[in-house]
Symmetry: C2
């Protein structure tokens, strides 16, 4: 169990210390949970109206990016974060990988009867902080309670909206041979933080999740150039899966320089001990960008000047050769294929 940081805002005094089935009834106890726990954290003029939907303005001449993600991570508190900030950052990142600036989020909770109100409060405080940091507003929500044993503590769905200029056209299908692949930093931090905390493994230096909102970094990158071909955050399935998705969608080969892929020493050591390839491990605060070779150097420089891109590296090139396949060179000059993962090495990492 991770030691939990103290909270800036104390738990309100409520008539129950754990979640009751009636908290999900839609009746008086639901209303009280909303008023005492949710609204003090997320309240804003749209949410405070307590309608069943948020009514919002669309900026003229922009397109809309819409995404959804359900979070079922186990444990719900882990080094570097918890299910709450993960749910905010994950959806913010999915929005901004289209080039859109995230604006509005929904938050929908499935709570297990018996969950401690203290844990829920702690999660909500983290969500509030993560939302503030990412500059987004939670405008609509929903809470369900299921009987003890019918879910595992808490699941959170966040769906989100962002807006983007019509000229921004980012897609995994846009990659052309010659394009350069840039990774924003070290890989495998999130997945290994979950794994080591779940298995109670301790390594000399602690491994923390990289959970972070990437919209600031993306804004900086779009400031350098609109000519970003593809952009994706390598979460479940890791960097290997994202690169395979790029290769398949654009029908190009990808030549990966795997010695260029940054891995933190503690994470690398943990992967080695556990026999896990970091290329397949989830990240929650990293992105892979594919850009034309002409702007790769300038883009890399801009990324490195942002706190979330300090360790950015050019890790490969799109090639004509072996379309649909990701490959890396071996020491002997041969070729090793980096395939999609088939099985599941670690369920419930997000």
């Amino acid at each position: 169990m991770t030691s939990l940081p103290t909270l800036s805002c104390p738990l309100p005094i409520m008539e129950h210390t754990t979640i009751q089935l009636a908290h999900g009834s839609g009746g008086r106890l639901s209303a009280r949970l909303l008023e005492q726990l949710f609204l003090p954290r997320f309240g804003n003029p749209v949410l405070n109206r307590l309608e069943d939907q948020a009514v919002l303005d669309c900026p003229a001449g922009q397109r809309l990016a819409f995404t959804t993600d359900s979070f079922v991570v186990d444990p719900i508190f882990f080094p570097g974060g918890n299910i709450g900030d993960l749910a905010i950052n994950g959806t913010v990142n999915d929005i901004c990988m289209s080039g859109a600036m995230p604006r509005y989020l929904s938050a929908s909770f499935i709570l297990e009867e018996g969950l401690s109100i203290g844990s829920l409060h702690r999660i909500l405080v983290s969500m509030e902080e993560a939302a503030k940091k990412a500059g987004i507003t939670i405008v609509t929500g929903d809470t369900k309670v299921v009987n003890h044993g019918s879910c595992d503590k808490i699941f959170i769905n966040t769906s989100g909206l962002g807006f983007l200029p019509i000229e921004v056209q980012i897609s995994a299908a846009n990659i052309k041979p010659g394009d350069k692949i840039i990774l924003s930093g070290t890989i495998a931090d999130h997945g290994m933080a979950i794994m080591t905390s779940r298995e109670n493994l301790s390594f000399q230096s602690s491994i923390e999740s990289d959970s972070a909102a990437l919209n600031g970094l993306v804004a900086k990158m779009l400031h350098v150039s609109n000519e970003i071909c593809a952009l994706r955050d390598p979460t479940r399935g890791g960097l290997a899966t994202t690169l395979n998705e790029f290769a398949a969608a654009s029908k190009v080969g990808i030549q990966l320089e795997d010695d260029k892929v940054p891995v933190a020493p503690a994470v690398g050591a943990a992967c080695e001990v556990l026999g896990i390839d970091p290329l397949y491990v989830a990240n929650e605060g990293k992105l892979v960008a594919v850009v034309p070779a002409e702007i790769a150097g300038q883009m890399l420089g801009a990324m490195r000047r942002h706190p979330l891109g300090r360790q950015a590296e050019i890790i490969g090139t799109a090639v004509d050769d072996h379309p649909g396949i990701v490959a890396t060179r071996t020491l002997l000059g041969g070729r090793r294929i980096i395939d999609m993962p088939v099985g599941e090495q670690l369920p419930r990492i997000c």
Copy 2:
């Protein structure tokens, strides 16, 4: 157990008959589940791009309605529907209660390891049919798998988007004394269908959920007049909760003519046997509209000409008296207060 109708499209042949943890890995098995089961049902040009977000056009000069709902209903198949069509209809209804026309939905699945692929397929077919009927498109999604025992079969989150003209201003806070309250049909059908199927109770005539998308009815109502004050679908907590929310938000009293509230005979009988007040039981295909008295007759007529409003009735009036309180007259001329429910008579009805 309800007998299940035969399906129009057969189950594809897949390498597993039940959900495996690896179906949620983000890797090859996840991709296959998507290609073989999800895309054949929901596929459309936006979803087929398989990006982590949908990029959509905003119609000029309109506002956006955004909502979210997680569905955890137990049992997942019940008379009159299943968790799949319920998840479509519920979110479509939450969008259109703002006066917006629903356009786009997200669908996010939490699947329990071991869930039969056949059940999942059946649910997806119902979602496809419900989406077609409501005229909406599923544009983005997500699938997570949790270990056996960590959730109960399947939970579905749908979030949704619709667009509405700027002049439509519907809110629970808009009600003025004198306004008339119209209910679109019988109450308590959904909740009692779940309860009788869960408890294996059988009544002479079967009780079916009223799960239905109300956007067609709302469009017809807005065609009569834009002057609808408030609109809400009385789901969890039933009609009593919705009326209490109206009274609180608008600071008016509500005088309910409870003998005008339609209840189907089988539903009424079941409520009596079980000692349940139908005013507190969930509906999934009904709406309550509050309109100025001058247009109430015309609105009622228009609603009755729509298949989902045939049994519509004017069931009450907003009053100056007892602000914030919903009351009905007793036979002896006294007043009975219809309060918010405090406890939970039936968890997991939606």
